[in-house]
């Protein structure tokens, strides 16, 4: 629930690299509706996110079936390149193991080739939205970063929980210093 800002930033990578990312809230649907309406009001544009739509049954038997079905549906209907799953109090408290569920979904062929499902643990009762932002950024690095042996003379700037306008300023400052840099996560600036 706290990763909304990260999810938003991430979702807008498509402005740059042709990537399409759908944040996904693994829990009951209220968490998803709440952060979507908050971000939609804040950014004054529609913000999309999926949800595992937990019911009492899922709370008792675990959310594995819900997440696998959600992954299958999302890749079939909305066709993102990446699904960024974040957990909620509900799925954290019942103890859903997201990497295991993702592995099972891949085994069952629910994740098309070349597409990714990444995750971050974000219970609301640990830390604040800043913690959630950091967790999701770490999730992105963990799942997507690969060493290729080459060294680039560039600096990756990985800020904490900041607004897109702050990212724009960081980029400008880096440019003024003559420092080749790339901001990560890439913000919705132009």
């Amino acid at each position: 629930m706290e990763t909304v800002a990260a999810g938003y930033e991430f979702a807008h990578r498509d402005d740059y690299e042709g990537r399409r990312v759908l944040p996904h809230s693994h829990g009951s649907q209220g968490c998803c509706a709440y952060h979507r309406s908050t971000l939609t009001r804040h950014y004054k544009e529609p913000v999309m996110a999926g949800t595992s739509s937990f019911t009492e049954g899922a709370s008792v038997f675990g959310g594995q079936a819900n997440l696998i079905q959600a992954i299958h549906n999302i890749f079939s209907i909305y066709e993102p390149e990446v699904i960024a799953v974040h957990t909620t109090c509900l799925s954290e408290t019942i103890g859903d193991d997201i990497p295991q569920i993702i592995a099972k979904a891949r085994e069952e062929g629910k994740i098309p080739a070349g597409k990714y499902v990444i995750h971050a643990n974000t219970p609301s009762y640990v830390g604040s939205h800043v913690t959630g932002f950091a967790n999701m950024v770490k999730g992105m690095v963990d799942y997507l970063a690969e060493a290729n042996g080459h060294k680039e003379n560039r600096i990756n700037l990985i800020p904490g929980s900041v607004e897109p306008c702050d990212m724009e300023e960081i980029k400008r400052l880096a440019g003024e210093l003559g420092c080749p840099s790339s901001c990560f996560p890439i913000p919705p600036t132009s």
Partner: protein, 225 residues
């Protein structure tokens, strides 16, 4: 598929209504499509059977983007939350309280300067992992006491959230105890963990309370907001 004369009124961008529906369903996986087909109907009245019935009030399919809320949202945002003169306390982690902060959407005017208006506040027990493990009843009791000491409200309503439902805090017992201790009126505790149904279900547990909460110490009924 040729457009039949009786379909002309429902023609969209040169497609007949059936074609539009088929195109909408094409993307769904087969099982999901079967269910969604009942949720998209063509408004074509059969003289014998009457208007078609649309499938509604069923659980959302996981992964389908939805704007539906949770039970807590219905209760906090719709039923008891927008009451000006009682303290509405969310028993749960801070996210639930923050995202259901009503702010400017629910404006109200109090009758006199002495009158209570808690609309702009957002009360929460701010549960941490310690409460998830050892129980949150103690913190709830503290929060009620603190809210009472600061504001002296005539009633306090408590909203449970997902983790509270899971760990099994007895908020009814805490509410009874604090009600007696502080002399509050009304039985304002509502057990609404978010996973139980969707936003509309939250209105059901709230409904029986509407008769008891908006009163005062003398038992006079008056309007809530």
């Amino acid at each position: 598929m040729a457009v039949k004369p009786d379909d002309v009124h429902s023609t969209i961008v040169g497609l007949g209504a059936d074609e539009v529906k088929m195109e909408l369903l094409e993307k769904y996986p087969i099982k999901v499509a079967r269910k969604r087909a009942k949720q998209i109907v063509i408004n074509r009245t059969d003289p014998k059977a009457g208007p078609p019935e649309i499938m509604a009030n069923v659980r959302t399919i996981p992964g389908i983007i939805t704007q539906r809320g949770c039970t807590y949202a219905g209760c906090k945002g719709v039923v008891l939350g927008p009451t000006r003169d009682i303290v509405n306390l969310t028993h749960g982690p801070i996210g639930c309280g923050f995202y259901s902060w009503l702010t400017r959407r629910n404006q109200t005017r109090h009758k006199s300067p002495e009158d209570h208006n808690f609309m702009t506040y957002c009360f929460s027990t701010d549960m941490q992992d310690e409460q998830i493990i050892f129980g949150g009843e103690k913190k709830l009791r503290q929060a009620i006491q603190e809210a009472y000491d600061l504001f002296k409200p005539k009633a306090i309503s408590i909203f449970a959230t997902c983790p509270v439902g899971l760990i099994g805090d007895d908020i009814h017992a805490v509410a009874r105890e604090m009600k007696e201790k502080l002399g509050l009126i009304g039985g304002g505790q509502v057990q609404v963990p978010g996973e139980k149904g969707h936003a509309l279900c939250g209105r059901l547990p709230g409904a029986p309370l509407s008769g008891t909460v908006p009163g005062n110490r003398h038992g006079n009924r008056r309007r809530g907001v």
